[in-house]
C-alpha cells in the first residue's frame, strides 16, 4: 500500500514538506514519511490490538470473579485494582519493561496489564447489576446450575459493555504505546511505530515540524476513531433502543 520503501534512503531530498510525490514529506534521510507512517501504523495498531485483547481477558476474569464472589474476595481483588491504578503508568511500564526487556511481546503484556483494572471495575459493576435481576432469579428457579447461569444467562448481557470497553481500551492502548515508544521504552529501532517516529521527529524538530506532526496526527485520528466507534457500538447494542 505504501508508495515507497519505508527504509528507502534517498527517495527524496531530506526534510521536504508535503508534496504530491511525498504526501507527508521526507525525513532526515530522505525517506518518504507517508510510507513510514503507514508501516509504523501497522506496528502500533497490532500492538494495540494485542494489548486490548490481553486487557479484556485479564480484566474480565478479574472483574467477573469479584462480582460473583463478593465478600473478601471482592474486596481483595478490587483493592488490588485500585492499587494498580494508583501507580503512575510510566513508572509501572518502566519497571516492568526493565524486568522483561522491551520487545513486541512484552509491550502488549505491559500495556494490557495497565488497562485491565478499568476493565475489571466495569466488568464487576456490570456483573453485580445483572445478578440482581429478575431473570437470574428465574434462571435459578428453572434449575440451572451456577456455572450455567453465569455463562448462559449473564454473559450475553454484559457482552455489549465488554465490547464497548474493547474499543475504548484500543484507543488507550494506542496512546500508551505511542507514549512509551516516545520515551524509548517501547518499540526499539530499527522497527518504527508511531511513537518511535515521533521520537525521531522530535529530535529534528528544528529542521522541520512535519516529521513529528504526521505520526502525532495519525495517533490522534486513530484514538478518535476507536472512541467514536465505541460510542456508536454502545448505542447500537442497547436492546432498549426500540421505542414502543
Amino acid at each position: 500500500m505504501a508508495p515507497y520503501d519505508p527504509n528507502g534512503i534517498g527517495a527524496g531530498r531530506p526534510f521536504m514538506g508535503p508534496s504530491l510525490s511525498h504526501l507527508f514529506g521526507t525525513d532526515n534521510l530522505g525517506r518518504d514519511l507517508f510510507s513510514r507512517v503507514l508501516f509504523g501504523g501497522r506496528i502500533s495498531i497490532l500492538i494495540a490490538i494485542a494489548s486490548t485483547v490481553i486487557a479484556l481477558l485479564v480484566g474480565t476474569l478479574w472483574g467477573v470473579t469479584a462480582g460473583i464472589q463478593r465478600g473478601w474476595v471482592d474486596e481483595f481483588l478490587m483493592r488490588t485494582a485500585d492499587a494498580t491504578m494508583a501507580i503512575p503508568q510510566i513508572l509501572f511500564a518502566l519497571i516492568a519493561l526493565a524486568a522483561l526487556g522491551a520487545s513486541p511481546i512484552s509491550l502488549p503484556i505491559v500495556v494490557g496489564l495497565l488497562l485491565s483494572p478499568t476493565t475489571a471495575r466495569m466488568a464487576r459493576s456490570a456483573v453485580i447489576t445483572e445478578l440482581e435481576s429478575d431473570y437470574i432469579v428465574a434462571a435459578k428457579a428453572s434449575g440451572f446450575k451456577s456455572t450455567q447461569i453465569i455463562l448462559r444467562e449473564m454473559f450475553p448481557n454484559i457482552a455489549p459493555q465488554l465490547l464497548v470497553q474493547l474499543s475504548i481500551n484500543a484507543a488507550a492502548a494506542i496512546m500508551l504505546e505511542a507514549s512509551l515508544s516516545f520515551i524509548g521504552l517501547g518499540i526499539q529501532p530499527p522497527s518504527a511505530s508511531w511513537g518511535t517516529l515521533m521520537l525521531q521527529g522530535y529530535s529534528f524538530i528544528w529542521n522541520t515540524t512535519w516529521y513529528v506532526l504526521f505520526p502525532a496526527l495519525a495517533v490522534s485520528a486513530t484514538i478518535l476513531a476507536f472512541n467514536s466507534y465505541g460510542e456508536r457500538l454502545r448505542v447500537t447494542l442497547d436492546p432498549k433502543r426500540v421505542h414502543p
Binding site: 428465574a138 434449575g143 446450575k145 436492546p239
Partner: protein
Amino acid sequence: MRKTPIQVAHVSDVSLTYKSKSVAVQALDGVSFELRAGETLALVGESGSGKTTAARALLGLEIPQSGTINILGRDLGDLKAEEVRLLRRQIQVVQQDPFSQLNRRHSVERIVSGPLIAFNIGDKESRREQVTKLLNAVGLESAHLQRRPHELSGGQCQRVAIARALAVEPKILVLDEAVSALDVSVRAQVLNLLKDLQRERGLAYLFITHDLGVANYMADEIAVMFRGNIVERGNREDIFKNPRHHYTIDLLSSVPLVTAARSKDVKREVRALPNVNLSDSCRYRTRCPIGSHQEKCHSTPLSISSGSQTHTWRCHFPGDRED
C-alpha cells in the same frame, strides 16, 4: 363427595431474619401454611408483610433460621444444594415484572426451553415441539418463537413466563404479584388463563398479592399477613364476609371500589399511619382502633382462635367494632 386434595407443600413455623449492614429485619415470624394440588393459597399483604420472603423461602432462595419447609415430602433443610436444584423441577415461579424476568438477549424459544435444558430433558427437536405446545397453551403462537422480550407486550411477556414455568410440569407454581404490573384488561386475560391451567393440570398455586380482588378471584384459601405474621386465614366467605382481625377489616375498607356507594358520614382518616412497634405482643397494635387503647394487646401474647374449620385468626378483640 369431594376428594380430599393432596398436600404438596407444607411450611411450618418458619422464621426468617434479614441481616443487612447494621439493621436486622425480621421478615417472617412463625409462619405456617399448606399448599394442596389443584388449589390456590393467596398470601395477601402490603409492603413489609413478608409475603415475598415467604415465597422466596418456599423456592429455596432464602434459608429460614427456624421452622421447616416441606415440598412433596422432602424437607428443604435436609437437602444438599444439588438435591434442592433437582427439586426445583416440582416448583416454579412467575414474577411481577413481565420484561425483567425474561433474558432480554434470548429469543422466546430459548427462554421457554430453559428449564428443559437445565434438567436435560429431550433433544433440540423434541424441545422445540414442547415449547410450541406450551406457547399454544398460554395463548401465543409459533410466530412468537424467535421474538425477543422487548418486541412483546407486557401481557405477552407474562404468558412467556408462564409457559416457561410450566415447561417441566411442576406440581407447584409460585405467582409473585404476577398480574400486578399488567393493564386491567390484560390482567383479566392472564387470570382467566391461570385458572384454566390450574384446572387442566391440577397445579397448586401460591399467589402472592396485595390486591384483594385478585385474591378473591383466584384463591381457595386466603392468608392475610402483617409484618411477618399471618394474622387471619380463611376462605372467601370468611375473609370477605366475616373478617375478624382488625387489619383485615381495615384493609377491606381501604380498597376503593367502583360499585360501593361512598357514604359521606364515615369519618375517614387523613393522618399518616403510625409506626409499627414490633416489640408489642400484637404487631398491629399501634394502628388498630381497638388495640391502641388496650393494655392486653400490648402485654399478652396472642393465641390462635378459630370460628370454623377454615377460619382462624390471632386477635384479643376480634371483630369488635362500634361502627
